[in-house]
Symmetry: C2
Subunit: 163 residues, 2 copies
């Protein structure tokens, strides 16, 4: 009987987990507040503009954009609706798939991005990179890549094998 006792976190893991929770909470609040104040949008929305700006013709299929941003299609749909109201993004029908929509970064959107970028970078730097050694930046990158890969829907993350 007895479902086996769960493997609790050891002391080091516990401390790391709590430090992570505190730091990530504080960091995302910090970044969000800065962007909201100086650019009138939360970081999630800013990130969408960045992805679009780097994409050929500054446009991307909704699903691709959602996947890159690691957000749900639903969330993206709402987000783009808002960005559209601000005139920063425009929707266009996809020429090759009649179900599809393209999110297109407008000139106004690009301008908003350009205006917001310096303050944003400064915030990220001040909170993160200015405080870490180069070696720590490397370590953090490595760790986060492992975590992200493990959770990516693609990678066949967990398991024996599904099905």
């Amino acid at each position: 009987m007895a479902t086996t006792e769960p493997r609790w976190l050891d002391d080091g893991q516990q401390k790391t987990w709590r430090a992570y929770l505190a730091a990530s909470q504080l960091l995302s609040d910090h970044i969000d507040r800065q962007l909201q104040r100086d650019a009138g949008m939360p970081h999630t929305y800013y990130a969408l503009l960045v992805w679009l700006s780097e994409s050929p013709e500054r446009r991307m299929r909704m699903t691709d954009l959602a996947e890159r941003s690691k957000i749900t299609r639903s969330r993206l749909s709402h987000a783009v609706a808002r960005l559209e109201q601000n005139g920063w993004v425009r929707r266009e029908d996809c020429p090759t798939d009649r179900r599809g929509q393209m999110a297109v970064l407008t000139d106004e959107g690009f301008a908003a991005l350009v205006a917001a970028a310096p303050g944003h970078v400064e915030a990220v730097r001040g909170a993160l990179f200015d405080r870490l050694t180069q070696e720590q930046v490397r370590q953090l990158g490595e760790i986060m890549r492992i975590v992200a890969e493990g959770l990516a829907p693609r990678g066949g993350a967990d398991l024996p094998w599904r099905r």
Copy 2:
């Protein structure tokens, strides 16, 4: 004229930042979904129960709880209202400060926590600790402590000096 060109992120920093964004987004979604499904509450709320459960007499002043959890008092107020409806937390007047309120973990709340804990730990482990070496766990802890300290309202984080 010309405000000086912002110090952009170098390539390594850029990659680390994007990996961090992806990983933290995926991780918090993963954890939230697991808890929402199995315990009927988001992680933020779960964390509140944890703090209370570890506190003497399972109670804490609202402001202290907010500070520990790194959330705003407003957010805590709403959260406790919801936890109170679930019967997991109860409010009591603070005996020493008539403005104050204590959040008290009820027996039901404690039971909910006990029930949720194993699944939660398993989720955290599976997504994070099972994938990292001991050394990486140490590194991550160190890095996150630095970030958290830098952003703590206490530390007098930024600046010349206020006032």
